[in-house]
């Protein structure tokens, strides 16, 4: 599989604060969904933000399809083909569901194409069609997450990065979210996601990365991570390791 995205020795932090990422690296391969795991404060979300252009790099480099993208603005990075859904879902609460979807296709200049893709997405997500005229701020947490993930399909980026898509959702809704992740992968998108629910996350990914204290400890097949006793003990609990 060709390498689509590569982050090398990334050092980054917020404002004038300390380095959160202290030399993190990540390799994302075309068509390989990847789950990033690690304890709180490991720098998982920070790494995604740095890739998305929301955080300037202090050191290191990020390449997409071989081209350096660190230093570009978030809108320029989206145009290159990297979409990002942050933890807070990044919706526009006073816009309707349909308007939020249209905003998802802001970079499309052909209005007819935008309307067509919006209709396609509404057809794929009947709940969103029912709520099409409703303001996004009035949706339930699960519906908001569904909208933010569905919205990434409008521009059809090469990579979609999801920051904790299951955060704050009921278990039944979490399963639905991961079904959407699987669906995005089936449609040829490369999905990179950060997940606290390690078992669930790794089961839905082909590749995994483990971050701790701002550094990448492991980057390899998800099955290997699940089978590694050290990872099991650290992140899945001793019971899982014993089993």
């Amino acid at each position: 599989m060709p390498e689509l995205l590569e982050a090398h020795n990334v050092v980054a932090g917020y404002g004038r604060g300390p380095d959160i990422l202290q030399g993190s690296s990540l390799t994302v391969r075309q068509g390989q969904s990847q789950c990033i795991i690690g304890p709180n404060g490991a720098g998982k979300s920070t790494l995604l933000k740095a890739i998305a252009g929301l955080l300037p790099l202090r050191q290191g480099e990020i390449r997409f399809k071989g081209e350096r993208i660190d230093g570009l603005r978030p809108d320029q990075i989206l145009r290159k083909g990297i979409g990002f859904v942050p933890q807070e879902r990044a919706l526009f609460p006073k816009m309707t569901v349909r308007e939020n979807l249209r905003m998802g296709g802001y970079i499309l200049t052909d209005r007819a194409e935008l309307e067509e893709r919006t209709e396609d997405v509404l057809n794929q997500f009947p709940i969103l069609r029912q709520r099409a005229g409703q303001n996004a701020g009035t949706l339930s947490g699960g519906e908001q997450q569904m909208l933010s993930m569905a919205r990434t399909q409008i521009v059809k980026p090469d990579i979609v990065m999801l920051d904790e898509p299951s955060l704050g959702l009921a278990p039944r809704i979490v399963r639905q979210m991961f079904e959407i992740v699987d669906m995005l992968c089936d449609r040829g998108m490369t999905v990179v996601f950060v997940e606290q629910n390690v078992l669930m996350g790794l089961k839905h990914a082909k590749w995994g990365a483990v971050l701790d204290l701002g550094r990448t400890l492991f980057d390899g097949p998800a099955a290997d991570i699940l089978g590694d006793p050290r990872i099991q003990e650290l992140y899945l609990g001793k019971a899982a390791a014993a089993a």
Partner: protein
């Protein structure tokens, strides 16, 4: 009864102008969180553009020169944003910083206009400025009526622009969630620049219209700061429709106060409203509830 209708009409006509005066201010705050204390001096600047174009030999009607005032002040807005505000955009205390920065800009603008035009009271005097329509006992001054109707028309155009155009979507998105707008591909820096220009341009257009409704001079802007702040705070900071409702409401109340208690008291309506709204409902009529730290 006819007196009440008379006051209502005068109040609503001026309310339209107040709404236009406040619209640029609330738009700028909504997108960039800039509390623009220099907005009133920009209105005075627009009035002086209209005044200058009204002099011999040009004698351009202020309604005709209104788009010119918009364009001139739009340009001033672009330059100001680039020189003063853009470099501070990354500051954690951006909103607080802009209060000081815009205060400084207001002082500079006041000084510049005072030097160029002195602090003599001025106004444009198109023929309709001194004429009225009569409906029985009720009279409607043409100047106030035209200024009010044109202001409302401009606000409707602004609303359509924000609601239905691609750039309008980008402005609304940036207002609601700046980071999310970036992630959707919006160049929020460019949107901020153009929105600031539009906001200051609207101040210029309002200035051209008030040039035949009120007498003006550079130092007049100090009086308008509190008036405009009362409108945007009452409506909810950054809420365009809120500013319009507040402008029409307070203007009508001020017209009643002016009629029954004397014109010197009508301004008190705005100051009192600002005081009360900050005390009772600081988020304004249409703003979100302010979280306590």
């Amino acid at each position: 009864m006819s007196q009440i209708i008379q006051i209502l009409i005068l109040g609503l006509a001026l309310g339209g102008v107040y709404a236009l005066m406040a619209s640029g201010l609330t738009l700028i705050f909504g997108v960039m969180r800039i509390v623009n204390l220099a907005h009133p001096i920009m209105i005075i600047g627009g009035a002086f553009v209209a005044y200058w174009l009204f002099q011999e030999p040009l004698r351009i009607d202020p309604i005709i020169s209104m788009p010119i005032a918009f364009i001139v002040l739009f340009g001033v807005g672009l330059v100001l944003y680039k020189l003063v505000f853009e470099r501070e955009a990354a500051s954690a205390k951006y909103s607080e910083m802009t209060v000081l920065l815009t205060f400084g800009v207001a002082l500079c603008g006041d000084g510049l206009l005072s030097t160029l035009f002195t602090n003599t009271q001025r106004g444009t005097t198109p023929s309709y400025g001194a004429q009225s329509y009569f409906l029985g006992d009720i009279f409607i001054p043409k100047g106030q009526l035209f200024a009010g109707l044109i202001s409302i028309a401009i606000i409707i155009v602004l609303y359509i622009f924000l609601r239905y155009t691609r750039f309008g979507y980008a402005i609304r998105a940036t207002t609601q969630n700046r980071a999310a707008a970036q992630l959707m591909g919006v160049n929020v820096g460019f949107v901020s620049l153009i929105t600031f220009g539009i906001g200051i341009g609207l101040a210029g257009a309002a200035g051209a219209l008030i040039s035949f409704v009120w007498q003006f001079f550079p130092a007049k802007h100090w009086e308008w700061i509190a008036v405009l702040m009362s409108l945007v705070v009452l409506g909810g900071m950054g809420k365009l429709h809120g500013a319009i409702v507040a402008a029409l409401t307070l203007s009508v109340i001020a017209a009643f106060v002016g009629t029954y208690f004397g014109s010197t008291w009508s301004l008190l309506t705005f100051f009192l409203a600002l005081f009360l709204i900050l005390l009772i409902r600081p988020e304004g009529l249409f703003g979100e509830k302010i979280e306590e730290a």
